[in-house]
């Protein structure tokens, strides 16, 4: 892979979202901006969320597209958006959204690696609190 999985331009530590759909759109826009997906992927991210919440616990959601959205994925990539004010996620409060674009079956491995990171108190703390995008990239850059 020649391009970084988590591009600096796809990291936002102080994002604000009106609601869950807005947050998901922003995660998708970040993936779009770094050339990891084409526009139609964003619609499938919203479809996935309506079908089943991507909330995984600990205030973290991992929006990603449906299988039908795979055609719109150009390369494996992540986006990282932190919402310090929180976003209501069907009754749960989300402060971290990690948008995922994965080709083929890559998403299962990406999710497994992400989950390992989020269960590790030290790395999870950096994701929650660090003011340095580079620290977030250092942790998530290897997650695919």
């Amino acid at each position: 892979m020649t391009e970084a999985v988590l591009d600096r331009r796809a990291v936002r530590l102080e994002a604000v979202a009106a609601d869950r759909e807005d947050a998901i759109r922003q995660c998708g826009q970040a993936l779009l901006a770094v050339g990891a997906v084409r526009e139609p992927y964003l619609v499938t991210m919203l479809e996935r969320e309506r079908s089943i919440s991507t909330y995984v616990g600990e205030g973290v959601a991992i929006p990603h597209g449906t299988l039908a959205g795979k055609d719109a994925v150009l390369r494996d990539a992540l986006s990282f958006l932190r919402f310090p004010g929180g976003v209501d996620w069907g009754g749960e409060r989300v402060t971290i959204c990690i948008g995922i674009a994965a080709t083929g079956d890559g998403h299962v491995a990406v999710l497994a690696e992400l989950a390992e990171i989020l269960l590790d108190p030290e790395r999870a703390r950096v994701l929650r609190e660090s003011g340095e995008a580079d620290e977030v990239i250092a942790i998530l850059g290897g997650a695919a």
Partner: protein, 89 residues
């Protein structure tokens, strides 16, 4: 300790909808249930979404469920049946 080994039937593997349904079902059981990949992987709590995701179980992966105590057998039967069903269908 009672256990069941089962093959993941869902086409997309054990994540998203199938994982959610499984984790919710595990949380409803009266006994703690663990799940591990294959027969020798690390056992993790079946009622934690993040823990279940770390398994990276894909379609056709073999996983082993384990539980102990009153109701363990029934809990394992229910969860094993769930995993042996294509939950994406």
């Amino acid at each position: 300790m009672p256990e069941r080994t089962v093959t993941i039937a869902s086409a997309t593997g054990l994540h998203a909808r199938p994982a959610k349904l499984f984790v919710e079902a595990a949380a409803r059981q009266g006994v703690p249930v663990t799940i591990r990949l294959g027969s020798s992987g690390r056992a993790v709590p079946a009622n934690s979404m993040l823990s279940v995701l770390t398994l990276g179980a894909t379609h056709g992966s073999e996983v082993t469920l384990q539980a102990d105590g009153p109701g363990a057998e029934a809990a394992l039967d229910e969860l094993a049946t769930l995993l042996a069903t294509d939950l994406d269908a």
